[in-house]
């Protein structure tokens, strides 16, 4: 039964489906990344430079 089901499946579209998923996911990530504000990215980028925290920094 399982063998018949697997045999009947058409895998030929795997590459196209994969490409579509990849494009959708990547476009979404690009969109999300570009929407980041300058203040946020500057704050994130400065994290390694602030090892010795004296004053608690705020999170938003």
């Amino acid at each position: 039964m399982l063998r018949e089901v697997i045999s009947a499946l058409d895998y030929s579209a795997c590459a196209e489906i994969a490409l579509a998923i990849f494009v959708i996911a990547f476009v979404g990530l690009v969109y999300g990344t570009l929407r980041l504000s300058r203040s946020s990215t500057e704050r994130f980028a400065s994290i390694p430079l602030s090892d010795r925290v004296e004053d608690p920094r705020h999170d938003d």
């Binding site: 895998y11 990849f22 980041l36 203040s39 704050r43 430079l49 090892d51 608690p56």
Partner: protein
């Protein structure tokens, strides 16, 4: 860290409104002791790994000075052959040197980026000592010939299990728990790279090393032939990606801004190229198998994704170099930045070259040549080496709490290493190009211009220069070791343990997302519109970036999904591996011989994959078919040709020739750089252990019958026939205490004589009960004419006049084809 995707990361800068991190102030100390241990291990293993590389490089050129010089190694020669030492060098460089460097970077930077101590000191110690024990186990087992025979995955199953436990259990668990307990809300991008490294390497390691053990030191891959090749290069390519690229990008994003005292140039670019690498890398493995028996669709997919890697890779390089904007004056004075700049430059070069090499037409020229070796060392020495050195020089004063002993020596190290890399790679690139061009060169009549041995001799001078480059790079490494030792000597009696403070991170409330009003509030719009607006706000992604478990899970899904899209068709579509009726399982003796071939690391120099390229089919015979390697566990297609391809070696030379060749390669092939394998001539074969191998092969699908009960006797009978041919030609019956027929060399020769002959195997006798004299598979063998259309008939292999020492002049132990390729054309 419970909670779901929550409020905006202050896109509008609304601090305070959603401030969930300002818990009570907590004090903590970093665990720098573990960092010191990993840095020390990095330097120690770096010296030893590079020394192993230098020895290997020297062994390759020694015969040029005296053909018998390798005999001077005496009894040690067995353990110091290129085939056994090369995996030792690669494993030491990758997993010992780069691996310990990665761990030092992760332990140091993660604590700072998370504002908390590593979750467990005990797990850290278990990780450290466990990893060092694994390295020692590798250093002992590989020279002893204990190997799975798959590049960068040579270690046998007990060590593989230890790696999984140490990597995922001790290292991964400790890292993930540290992320969960962190005091910095946002996970800095370095941590993303570390997460991807831990998750993906776990998946790669576990699935590529699935085996059936037959003892503590021997196992067989559950994959065979094409599928094993696909899995291996899915692993091999992504080991480079997720062990030698992603964690080093992670350390670059932490240590470069620290050293330059400037934030990273573009945080957005770092996010983009992180996800691009995660999504793309995992697909690209098949480009290592262009023009092989791998299905065309997989090869093309690998090429396209390989090409696509160029842009995200350069995103990382550009982001790194531009981080130094306005700080280039520091580069001239600071050796740390010097190392980073050159490291990033080599990263850019290697990641431009990699995509170019994934183009089929270019790959056809460079694959199997030394070009690949130059490419690998451009990346390993230039990118991994220089980034590790830069990081260590930055860390030493901070970890030992004393100034670096000599900045001048560090600068010397930089220049010596840089020149060493160039002296190494330039001649080897030239060697690769030379090999590629000579292999395909043909005269006006369409005959090959060069014998294989000529192509080897032409590039030996390049190899000699390479030794100098390697020595320079090792010399630089020794400077680092000395500098570190002197710095350590001037350390304080007791290290200071600074106490830091940061607010505890509070869980984010589920209701937080409600606090940001929708811009569509009160407008007459369908609910779907609100949903789209909510999704497009990307708050959910900001949420993931704060949630390590979910982030890890999504990275895992990205990697596994991409892998499955390639693996499912590869394993389920039967047409990917068309079977060939005349291809039969190995005989018991050949199985043992194959194990010897693997143990000696012959695949490090000899491929078993003839590509459908005119110059290759003329040199070696008909191109390799997928169905020919269905019993090959592991596959032995190789990745390099220091020696000729062996896919159709069976029947090309007599067994007597092979015996003499193992004893003294230079005598049979003047100018050969192959080491001798005399120990195989004097070491007894244990026929009683043959049965275990047959049973394991049977378990994995080989259609054995009486071999299961009569394997030792069948092996003995075939050994007698092979030995008879050898002795008949004048070889003494006994060598030392070992009879020729009992020697391991006989099993190896039986295997070599079997290679590639099934395709042209003549019709087997069909009389019921008839058994081949050699004791091989019973007479149910399907005639060769039942082979599918893609199996080329025997006449595709040019028959030639048999040389005096060729099998046509002797009785053949196997039912091999009479087709013999002209030895001159090799």
């Amino acid at each position: 860290m419970a909670g779901v995707a929550q409020s905006s990361e202050s896109r509008e800068g609304n601090r305070g409104a959603n401030d969930f991190s300002s818990g009570e102030i907590e004090s903590f100390q970093y665990n720098d002791s573990i960092c010191r241990m990993f840095v020390t291990a990095t330097v120690v293993w770096g010296v030893l790994g590079m020394l192993a590389g230098l020895i290997v490089a020297t062994l390759m050129v020694l015969p040029r000075f005296h053909p018998n010089v390798l005999f001077l190694l005496g009894p040690w020669a067995e353990y110091l052959t290129f085939g056994r030492l090369r995996p030792l060098h690669t494993n030491a460089a990758i997993f010992a040197f780069a691996g310990n460097g990665i761990f030092a970077a992760v332990y140091y930077s993660t604590q700072r980026l998370c504002k908390c101590r590593m979750w467990s000191d005990t797990l850290g110690l278990l990780h450290f000592w466990g990893w060092q024990l694994i390295i020692v186990a590798a250093a002992v087992s590989l020279p002893l010939g204990i190997t799975q025979g798959k590049e960068y995955a040579e270690l046998e199953w007990p060590i593989d299990i230890a790696i999984a436990i140490v990597w995922l259990g001790f290292f991964g668990g400790n890292f993930l728990m540290t992320l969960i307990r962190r005091r910095e809300r946002h996970m800095y991008v370095s941590l993303w790279f570390y997460i991807a490294t831990i998750v993906t390497m776990s998946v790669l390691h576990i699935f590529n090393n699935l085996v059936v053990p037959i003892g503590w030191f021997k196992s067989y891959s559950i994959y065979a032939g094409v599928q094993d090749a696909f899995m291996q290069w899915w692993y091999g390519h992504n080991a480079v990606a997720f062990f030698l690229t992603m964690p080093f990008l992670g350390l670059m994003y932490y240590f470069l801004p620290k050293a330059a005292e400037r934030p990273v140039f573009s945080y957005k670019l770092s996010i983009l190229h992180f996800w691009a690498l995660v999504f793309i890398y995992i697909w690209a493995g098949p480009h290592h198998l262009h023009y092989t028996a791998l299905p065309e669709w997989a090869s093309t997919l690998g090429m396209l994704f390989g090409l696509m890697l160029w842009m995200p890779s350069w995103g990382g390089m550009i982001n790194g170099l531009l981080t130094l904007r306005g700080a280039w004056d520091k580069v001239s004075a600071d050796p740390v930045l010097k190392f980073f700049v050159v490291g990033l430059t080599f990263y850019g070069l290697a990641t431009l070259e990699g995509p170019m090499l994934s183009i089929k037409s270019l790959n056809a020229l460079t694959h199997y040549t030394d070009w690949t070796i130059a490419h690998v060392h451009s990346g390993a020495l230039g990118w991994n080496g220089m980034m590790t050195f830069g990081m260590i020089y930055w860390l030493l004063p901070r970890l030992y709490q004393t100034p670096l002993w000599s900045t001048k020596l560090a600068t010397w190290h930089f220049w010596v290493a840089t020149i060493g890399i160039l002296v190494y790679i330039v001649p080897i690139y030239a060697a690769g190009l030379t090999q590629g061009m000579m292999w395909r060169a043909m005269d006006d009549k369409g005959n090959l211009t060069y014998d294989f041995i000529e192509t080897v001799q032409t590039i030996v001078p390049h190899w000699t220069i390479r030794v100098l480059g390697g020595a320079l790079f090792l010399g630089g490494m020794l400077m680092l070791a000395f500098n570190m030792f002197m710095t350590w000597l001037s350390r304080p009696v007791t290290y200071e343990q600074p106490v830091y403070s940061a607010p505890r991170l509070l869980p984010m409330p589920i209701t937080a997302s409600v606090t940001k009003p929708s811009s569509l509030e009160g407008k007459p719009i369908h609910e779907l519109g609100f949903l789209v607006e909510k999704l497009s706000s990307m708050d959910w992604h900001r949420g993931w970036e704060r949630l390590p478990v979910k982030f890890t899970l999504f990275t895992l899904i990205a990697v596994v999904a991409a892998s499955l899209f390639e693996m499912i068709p590869m394993f389920l579509i039967r047409s990917n591996v068309p079977t060939i009726a005349s291809v039969k399982p190995y005989t018991p003796l050949e199985l043992v011989g194959r194990d010897i071939f693997v143990a000696e690391g012959c695949y490090n120099c000899h491929s078993q994959m003839i590509r459908p390229i005119v110059s290759e089919t003329k040199r070696y015979g008909d191109f390799s078919k997928a169905g020919e390697s269905i019993y090959d566990r592991p596959f032995q297609w190789g990745s390099r040709r220091i020696g000729p391809d062996l896919a159709r070696e069976g029947g090309k030379q007599s067994s007597h020739w092979h015996w003499q060749h193992l004893e003294n390669p230079d005598k049979m092939s003047p100018g050969s750089t192959m080491p001798h394998f005399r120990h195989l001539l004097t070491r007894d074969l244990d026929f009683d252990k043959v049965t275990d191998r047959v049973k394991a092969a049977h378990l994995l699908g080989a259609p054995y019958d009486r071999e299961l009960t009569e394997a030792p006797d069948m092996a003995r009978r075939q050994a007698e026939e092979v030995a008879a041919e050898i002795v008949k030609r004048g070889v003494p019956v006994k060598r030392g205490d070992t009879l020729v027929l009992n020697s391991q060399a006989v099993a190896l020769i039986a295997y070599l004589q079997r290679l590639g002959v099934d395709l042209t195997r003549p019709a087997a006798p069909t009389a019921e009960g008839a058994t081949p004299a050699d004791g091989s598979a019973p007479a149910d063998a399907t005639p060769a004419d039942a082979t599918p259309a893609d199996a080329t008939p025997a006449d595709a292999t040019p028959a030639a006049t048999a040389a005096d020492d060729s099998p046509a002049a002797t009785s053949q132990p196997l039912a091999v084809s009479s087709a013999v390729t002209d030895p001159e054309s090799r």
